[in-house]
C-alpha cells in the first residue's frame, strides 16, 4: 500500500518504486536540459523556425531541435509521472522534490529569454528585444515565487521537527513552539502575581479583623470597670489605674 503524503513513518521502499523515482527524476533533469538547449538554439537563429510541411520555411530548424524538442515535451509528462508514482511509494519528502522541477524549468527558460533579450544574436547591436525581456521576467516570477514560498514552508516544517526532537510534544512550526513557550511563561507570571495579590489582601483583612476585635475588647473591659466602679467594688484610684492600663494596652 502506498504512503499518503507524510501520513506514516517512512519504511524501506521497494526496488520498483526506487527505480521509477530515480529514472523519473533523472529523466526530468534530462528533458529540462534538452528544452533549455533547444530554446537557446532557436533563439540563436532569431526565435522562430519550422521544418517539413508543404511550405518552404524561412528558417529551417536545427536538426537537434527538430528531433529532440517534441521528445523532451512528451518526456516531461512521462518522466514526471514515473517520478510521482515512485515518490508516492517513498513518502512525503521525496514526492515533494518533484515540485522543484517547476522552478527549474521556468528559471532556466527565463534565463534564456533574459540573456537573448538583453543581447540578441542577430539584428542591430545594442538593441534590446523587449518582448523577450518581458517573457523572461514573467518566467522568472513564475519559477521564483513558488520556489521561495516552498523553501520557506520546508524550513518551517524542519523547525517543527527539531522542536519535537527536543523531547517536547509539539505539532507545528518552530515559531509556534516559541509562541507557546512565551505564552506559558506569561501565564505562569500572571498566576504568581494573582496569588501574591490574594495573599496581601488576606493579610490586610486579617489585620483589620484583629484591630476590630481589639477595639471591642477594650470597650468591653472599660464597661466592666465602670460597672465595678459604680457598684463600689473599685475605688476611684483603682478604677483610674485600671482604665489607664486598659487604654495603654489598646494603643500599643
Amino acid at each position: 500500500m502506498s504512503n499518503l503524503v507524510g501520513a506514516t513513518a517512512p519504511r524501506t521502499p521497494g526496488l520498483g518504486a526506487v527505480t521509477a523515482y530515480l529514472i523519473g527524476m533523472g529523466g526530468l533533469a534530462f528533458t529540462i536540459t534538452i528544452l533549455w538547449l533547444s530554446m537557446r538554439a532557436v533563439m540563436g537563429i532569431g526565435g522562430a523556425c519550422a521544418s517539413g510541411g508543404p511550405y518552404v520555411p524561412a528558417v529551417e530548424c536545427p536538426d537537434a531541435v527538430e528531433l529532440l524538442t517534441p521528445l523532451s515535451i512528451f518526456g516531461l509528462f512521462i518522466f514526471g509521472g514515473l517520478a510521482a508514482w515512485g515518490g508516492a511509494n517513498l513518502g512525503g519528502r521525496w514526492i515533494g522534490l518533484i515540485a522543484l522541477g517547476w522552478p527549474a524549468l521556468f528559471l532556466s527558460l527565463g534565463w534564456n529569454f533574459l540573456e537573448f533579450g538583453f543581447a540578441p544574436p542577430s539584428g542591430s547591436d545594442g538593441d534590446l528585444v523587449w518582448s523577450w525581456i518581458f517573457c523572461g521576467v514573467v518566467f522568472v516570477l513564475m519559477g521564483g515565487i513558488p520556489l521561495i514560498v516552498g523553501l520557506r514552508g520546508a524550513a518551517m516544517v524542519a523547525g517543527s521537527h527539531r522542536a519535537y526532537a527536543g523531547g517536547r510534544v509539539l505539532v507545528g512550526p518552530k515559531q509556534g513552539f516559541d509562541a507557546m513557550r512565551d505564552l506559558q511563561e506569561q501565564l505562569q507570571q500572571a498566576v504568581e502575581q494573582r496569588n501574591a495579590e490574594r495573599a496581601d489582601a488576606a493579610r490586610a483583612e486579617a489585620g483589620a479583623a484583629y484591630a476590630q476585635e481589639q477595639d471591642r475588647d477594650v470597650a468591653a473591659r472599660l464597661e466592666r470597670l465602670a460597672r465595678l466602679h459604680a457598684a463600689g467594688d473599685l475605688t476611684d484610684a483603682e478604677f483610674d489605674a485600671a482604665k489607664r492600663a486598659t487604654l495603654a494596652g489598646a494603643s500599643r
Partner: protein, 40 residues
C-alpha cells in the same frame, strides 16, 4: 509516534542516488544534444 527527525538509513543512499541520477540526466542531455547537432 516515531520521531520524524530520525531518518532511516536508506534515505541517505536514496539521496546520493538522486543526485547521481539528476547529474546523469543533465550529462546525457548535453551529450545527446551535441551528438545530434554535429553535422555528419
Amino acid at each position: 509516534m516515531m520521531d520524524p527527525s530520525i531518518r532511516p538509513a536508506w534515505e541517505r543512499w536514496l539521496a546520493i542516488a538522486l543526485v547521481v541520477a539528476i547529474v546523469l540526466g543533465v550529462a546525457i542531455a548535453l551529450w545527446l544534444y551535441a551528438a545530434v547537432s554535429t553535422p555528419a
